[in-house]
């Protein structure tokens, strides 16, 4: 094993006990939310596929809880922890989290939000994670705690983001530094977008909260307010993911971007520049949206992946250059030199593969003419789990594998086991995704649990297509595999949080890495990054054309809602 000189591990270990406790609080609740989300997901999958007996109404409620718990609380508690950590560790001269009491207040507010949102399901709410208030026409009071939870989450996030910005800005004002490192700059941009998302959350959820409290007559324009928030919620975890890829690859290989720190900052800034203009496609399902806006929105939506692709190319090209400088040969032979026995490397590697798959299929969905046909089908969960589970959550878990033992001083639980999990997770995702996307093309609805139907027409009898059941079986198998792998990850993270056993696992600083820092890498060839992008673009084109071909042959009556 090579001893790593990881800045992430060393910087995290050097934080003061107060900051460590704060970060552990965020990461502990994040892991709890992940665990709950897996349980709710398993129940949802059971309802959809008949794996075990569960009523449709209960399964529907589990779907709501799954979406709320994962999309809002797992992803935002873990982001809150990482944005504070990166600002404190990667801003030279910071050393600690600024305004720590405010960060604690943010944590408590977010936790209160989580309790409120989750408890609303036991109070009888029928809302899904998008909180569509039109479902509460009969009894608005059923949504009170649901919306209150989201408003509290937004308020807490605003406090945490303020602390992260203060952490990065303070050394500048003290005259310790003149400019931020690329990661520090990314943390500031990320915090800025978190603050904007918090405002978008208040903009979307305060009106329905007041309505459910009887303080206003109705809620107008919710679809648009939700779309703006939802757009931010797409971008935030994506940005967090690529920032963490950048950090983690530096820590497991010692590489620096061959394009230099200036270019890295520019790429992170491009993320921010592309956020607002690409948001129009969320409005495609609004029936009275002007045709010209639909066309412009479709064109702009093509740019949504540009920043992520740029960071991917920067990282892959840098890794390839460094690996070739170490003797890596062949178009793909250099990849073998990467430290795949390290669970962090394995997770990030498969996260990149899954993100590419999710990216390809997402591009199909955001085409204006396909969005209307596919948005209410199982195509949507089929493709986005590649992004949310296989890309984003896997990356956060990889980063937690490094960070939690560095905070607690405990050992990293069984790295050899953890290094194999990303591949099994990807097999599960492959089953779930392939089954889900195929089910979407066949018209399987995504939010209806009782799929069987029968029409007794005098001329012909109509039943649900037989193939729907087969596809649900494939989706169920993939769901179970994913849930099993994620449950092992949760167990491992809980061990790293709480177990003081010194016999199982290794010191996180002893995980297998390669040390390529200082090696001359600037004149090496690096084709795999650009070639991967070409392959992705070709796949996007191919699947979009295929989707048009398939859907043009299917007689479809459309009655769609936003996603």
């Amino acid at each position: 094993m090579t001893k790593t000189k990881s800045k992430l591990i060393a910087g995290t270990r050097n934080l003061n006990p107060g900051d460590k406790n704060l970060l552990l609080a965020f990461f502990s609740i994040a892991v709890l939310a992940l665990a709950l989300g897996i349980v709710f997901a398993t129940m949802t999958a059971a309802g959809r596929t008949g794996l075990f007996g569960i009523e449709s109404a209960t399964a529907y409620r589990m779907l709501g809880l799954h979406g709320v718990t994962i999309f809002f609380y797992w992803l935002y508690f873990v982001q809150a922890g990482f944005v504070l950590l990166l600002a404190a560790v990667y801003t030279e001269g910071a050393g600690e989290v600024a305004l720590r009491p405010l960060a604690w207040l943010g944590f408590v507010t977010m936790l209160a939000g989580m309790v409120s949102s989750e408890s609303s399901y036991f109070g009888g709410t029928i809302l899904l994670y998008d909180g569509n208030p039109s479902l509460l026409i009969d009894d608005p009071s059923e949504g009170r705690f649901f919306y209150l939870g989201y408003v509290l989450l937004s308020a807490g996030l605003a406090m945490v983001a303020t602390c992260a910005i203060a952490t990065a800005v303070r050394p500048k004002f003290r005259g310790v530094i003149e400019s931020w490192t690329p990661i520090s700059f990314a943390a500031v941009a990320w915090s800025g977008l978190l603050l904007v998302a918090a405002v978008a959350g208040a903009n979307a959820f305060l009106p329905p909260l007041f309505w459910t409290l009887g303080l206003r007559e109705s809620v107008a324009g919710y679809a648009m307010s939700w779309s703006v928030l939802f757009h931010n919620m797409h971008y935030l975890p994506l940005m967090a993911t690529v920032v963490l890829w950048y950090v983690l690859m530096e820590n497991v290989t010692g590489m620096q971007s061959v394009f230099g720190p200036k270019f890295s900052k520019i790429v992170f800034a491009i993320y921010m520049i592309f956020v607002p203009p690409t948001s129009l496609y969320h409005m495609f399902l609004e029936p009275d949206l002007a045709e010209a806006v639909r066309v412009v929105g479709s064109l702009l939506s093509l740019f949504i992946a540009v920043p992520t692709i740029l960071v991917f190319v920067v990282i892959v090209a840098s890794l390839e250059s460094y690996a070739r400088a170490q003797g890596g040969r062949g178009l793909f032979g250099w990849i073998k030199l990467l430290p795949w026995r390290n669970p962090v490397m394995a997770a990030v590697g498969m996260a990149a593969v899954n993100m590419a798959l999710g990216g390809v299929f997402s591009m199909v969905l955001i085409q204006e003419r396909l969005a209307v046909l596919l948005s209410d089908t199982f195509y949507v969960p089929g493709y986005f789990h590649f992004l949310t589970v296989g890309g984003i959550s896997l990356t956060f878990i990889a980063a937690l594998i490094y960070v939690i033992p560095s905070l607690t001083g405990h050992r990293c639980w069984r790295p050899a086991v953890l290094a194999r999990l990303p591949y099994i997770l990807t097999i599960g995702l492959g089953l779930f995704g392939a089954g889900g996307i195929a089910a979407g093309y066949h018209g399987v609805p995504r939010r209806i649990f009782e799929l069987a139907y029968h029409v007794d027409d005098p001329v012909e009898h109509i039943d649900a297509p037989f193939v729907w059941g087969t596809m649900m079986g494939v989706i169920g198998a993939g769901s179970l595999l994913m849930a099993a792998v994620l449950a092992i990850y949760v167990y491992a993270l809980l061990r790293m949080l709480f177990s003081q056993n010194r016999e199982i696992g290794v010191d996180v600083a002893s995980l297998y890495v390669v040390s390529w820092s200082g090696s001359a890498a600037t004149r090496e060839r690096a084709w795999v990054g650009p070639l991967s992008i070409l392959a992705m673009v070709a796949a996007m084109y191919g699947f979009t054309a295929l989707s048009f071909e398939i859907l043009q042959r299917v007689p479809i009556l459309v009655g769609a809602a936003g996603h």
């Binding site: 700059f185 977008l193 324009g221 800034a269 607002p276 203009p277 129009l280």
Partner: protein, 60 residues
Amino acid sequence: MKRLDTVLLGIVFIVWSALALMYATVPMIQMATAFRVWGFGAMLFLVLAILAAGAKRGSK
């Protein structure tokens, strides 16, 4: 590198301001209240750019 932080944050402010203005003034887009969100974001990045610039002048 010294001024890059300020310049990049300033560019974000300009783009977000333009978009916020467009959302507020072009009803056809149907995103009028999005003006509040993107407009707040524009102001936030302006403040961050000013902070970065001001801090640079104060640094050793």
